[in-house]
Amino acid sequence: MLVLTLTGCVDGVKGSGKTMSLCHAVHYCSKQGWLVLHIPDAHLWVKNCKELLPSSYHASRFDQPIQASNWLRNFRTTNEHFLSKIKLRQRYVWTKRESTEEGRPLGELVDMGVSRVKSSSDVVGAVLKELRLQAGGTEGGFRLAVAVDGVNGLWGRTTLKKEDKSPVAPEELTLVHNLRKMINNDWCGGAVIATLSQTGSLYAPSSAYLPQELLGEEGFDSMDPFIPVPVSLYSEKEFESCYLYYLDRHWLQHPHSQTEEGKKELIFLSNRNPSVLERLCAFL
């Protein structure tokens, strides 16, 4: 039975709780037994990279060994029990002397990527490809959840430069190229949850929060069709529950903040924005 992949795009103003909603969804998926592919911030892959190696697999692409090995390490700790169950369906050759045979568990591939830092980006590509092929399988099938935070970083510009000072386009990075293939809806058996983020984004105005503005034309077309999940500021009930939670944990210590007037003032000062409210209650 083929289950088509759904794409959900979480968008909202700055500080309204997009990353937190993504984390809730990821937790739910992992509790249900899905395999979770969580990229904490896609913007970290397109900026501030100290080492940019030319890729061995494809001549015009660039590798990022540090980011790739970090991500593989985290992937290993989050999905321990899946690593021994999934077997590879293809033989991968890394160098003249090293190769990973068919039928070996995925854990071996990940360990190799962590230890051999130079080919870690290619290992990431191989892992993603395997998971894409096996996600919707009937025997031993598992559901795959791809959770990307700051997905608009994959289609914007990068701050990285080649040695001749010309800018690097995101397509020329192996990690970004492979991730884009995952977000394309052509595989089945899972879901893609993406969050837009203006905070870490490059060359985007600070007032932009809609999908069209942040993703650009290219990104919007490749994410299409997606389900927009708007995250608005706190409603009355949500604000009430947040306020009662702070009171319960003895976090609101100022005597005036526990009165009605103080509460009205908090609503006014924070405009019901979750992150602003947190920063206000920190010192009250």
Binding site: H250, Q253, P255, G262, E265, F283, L284
Partner: protein
């Protein structure tokens, strides 16, 4: 002096209007930022308050400074501390340090509160504002020293201090202590929160400095007669 001058002067606006300066014609009255004062209905006013209101409707009022708010969370002592910590007029950084200090203190105290057994929970003080005020109280010296010249020599004479001077000395000692005696890597708010918590329980360097001042004043007790005011 202001009272006699007030009778002679008429309300005048200078050619160059000083809006944010602190020197005003003594004819101008202080602004009232608190909201409760304006919510009292007409019938419940005492005669003095009625007179005051009539006076305020006639006289000009000074412009309120930016740091004074009608918010319930406004604290004049804390504002003074922020101003003293400020360097080169950068109030944002000073206010940021103070808010981080308050948050840090609250975090430490709430952690202790949650870990403590039931009986001891009531003794732990979690409110960072009360800790700040009590710590400042514990750092205020009771008696001060002045350098008075008598017969060619200068003597350190114990003198009484006004409330403002005591508060200023406590704040000054706290800030200099945190700026000088800290490790290169510790941040200001971390050191400040440690010192404030220590002063709250009457330990720490600032309280020690206060005690040393008291001891010096006690030892120089014999020179108290040199004071003529």
């Amino acid at each position: 002096m202001a009272a006699s001058v007030t009778g002679l002067l008429k309300p005048w606006t200078p050619r160059v209007l000083l809006v944010r300066w602190s020197r005003y014609n003594p004819y101008y009255l202080e602004p009232e930022p608190r909201k409760e004062v304006y919510h009292i209905p007409e019938t419940e006013l005492t005669p003095e308050q009625k007179e005051e209101r009539e006076l305020k409707s006639v006289r000009p009022i000074k412009a309120a400074t930016n740091s004074v708010t009608s918010s319930v969370f406004n604290d004049p002592v804390l504002s003074k501390f922020v101003n003293m910590m400020m360097k080169d007029g950068d109030k944002i950084i000073a206010k940021g340090i103070i808010t981080q200090t308050l948050e840090n203190m609250k975090r430490k105290q709430v952690e202790k509160y949650h870990k403590a057994p039931e009986g001891k929970k009531a003794e732990i003080e979690c409110n960072p504002y009360t800790i700040f005020h009590h710590a400042l109280e514990n750092c205020k010296p009771v008696i001060g020293l002045a350098s008075i010249q008598k017969g060619g020599k200068f003597y350190q004479v114990p003198i009484p201090l006004t409330d403002n001077r005591r508060r200023f000395l406590a704040m000054k000692w706290m800030i200099t202590e945190c700026r000088d005696n800290k490790h290169r890597r510790t941040l200001m708010y971390e050191k400040l929160s440690q010192e404030l918590l220590a002063a709250f329980s009457k330990e720490g360097n600032v309280v020690k400095r206060k005690h040393e001042l008291h001891k010096m004043a006690e030892s120089n007790r014999a020179y108290a007669h040199y004071r003529w005011w």
